[in-house]
């Protein structure tokens, strides 16, 4: 009986294990992205987007990702929090903006950035993002 309980407790604990590295990596990706945007380095910023997000930026703007990505409307701010669940992450910035990331073969990549809560709507409504897959 005790072995079953230990197995259950271990299973519950495993859920939290291994994600502190993921959180650090996700924060790093978002920091480098905003750094690239500040320095108007569109290539570096686009390299941190997921393929789907990159294609969405190009299709929405009608121009190359590197040209469009630095001209979007970002609030920015210092990184306040990073959360990771399975292969999805969200990084919240001090300015009230968030970025969503997915973990792929190449590590964490941004799938949506410049996301803000929609004013006047319930918190259950998805955020409105400047660029998203």
């Amino acid at each position: 009986m005790f072995r079953v309980l230990i197995a259950i407790a271990a299973a519950a604990a495993l859920v939290g294990c291994g994600t502190s590295d993921d959180r650090a990596e996700a924060r790093g990706v978002v920091e480098r992205f905003y750094d690239a945007v500040r320095h108007e380095d569109g290539d570096a910023a686009c390299a941190l987007l997921s393929d789907a997000a990159r294609k969405a930026v190009e299709s929405q703007s009608g121009e190359a990702c590197a040209a469009a990505i630095t001209r979007l409307d970002y609030a920015g701010g210092a990184i306040a929090r990073a959360q990771v669940f399975v292969t999805s992450a969200r990084v919240d910035l001090g300015g009230g903006e968030s970025a969503y990331l997915d973990r792929g073969a190449d590590g964490w990549r941004i799938s949506a950035v410049g996301c803000k809560a929609q004013e006047g709507l319930s918190s259950e409504v998805p955020m409105d993002c400047e660029a998203e897959a």
Binding site: M1, I8, V15, F85, S88, S123
Partner: protein, 224 residues
């Protein structure tokens, strides 16, 4: 060894098919998860990563908790509730915790009774409820594990939809958590009800879960 296997064949059989089904669930669950990841333009994961993820664990835990709840409630209910004609019920009139003599404890214990049944005091008190206590602990433990792992899976989907994550407390109030819980509970309760009622009128020769084939419908608590 052969004698041990023969005398433990019932337990061994169910343990073996449990492991086989768990392995099969892991393989098809991994395949299903990756299919959904691809459909959502999300990255796929390896089998090893999947097995230690909340995605797999919540599906295991939500089923374990409902099975152990089923046994917890069944053990508890059959102390005081009866069903005329059912093999799953005590004979009518025996409702309650019964006498020490009927339960072979204290001065009524036999030479080969379990040690704590002969001991008396707190040891007897604990042992007298040990089956119910263990089932309840495993039920609550696996339900808590379902809560923890279910929240992780729920929040991954929340992020996929660009929504906010839920705390453990918030997740406990979601329809997603209760949908997972209640869909399992209803089937467990139906299974017990079916067994209690079917055993009144139906028979399976040779099984102790059935009355003897020729046993009257009115006869309660008889085993085949």
């Amino acid at each position: 060894m052969r004698r041990y296997v023969r005398e433990s064949s019932l337990g061994l059989f169910f343990l073996v098919i449990f492991f086989a089904a768990l392995v099969a669930q892991a393989l098809v669950g991994h395949s299903d998860f990756n299919d959904q990841q691809i459909a959502h333009n999300d990255p796929t994961v390896s089998l090893g990563r999947f097995l230690t993820s909340s995605v797999f664990l919540v599906d295991v835990m939500e089923n374990w908790q409902s099975e152990y709840l089923q046994f917890t409630l069944f053990i508890l209910a059959t102390i005081w509730l009866v069903q005329r004609g059912s093999t799953e019920s005590k004979p009518l009139g025996k409702e309650g915790l019964e006498s020490d003599e009927e339960q072979k404890v204290g001065e009524h214990a036999e030479p080969d009774s379990p040690k704590w049944a002969k001991a008396g005091g707190w040891r007897l008190a604990i042992y007298s409820h040990s089956l119910l206590v263990v089932m309840t602990i495993i039920w609550l433990g696996s339900w808590f594990a379902q809560l923890v792992t279910g929240r992780v899976v729920y929040n991954a989907e929340q992020f996929d939809h660009h929504e906010a994550a839920a705390s453990l407390w918030q997740y406990a109030g979601t329809s997603e958590f209760w949908n997972r819980t209640l869909q399992n509970w209803q089937s467990e309760f139906l299974a017990v009800a079916s067994m209690v009622v079917f055993s009144i009128w139906l028979r399976q020769r040779g099984s102790p879960e059935s009355k003897p084939v020729g046993e009257p419908h009115e006869s309660t608590g008889a085993e085949g």
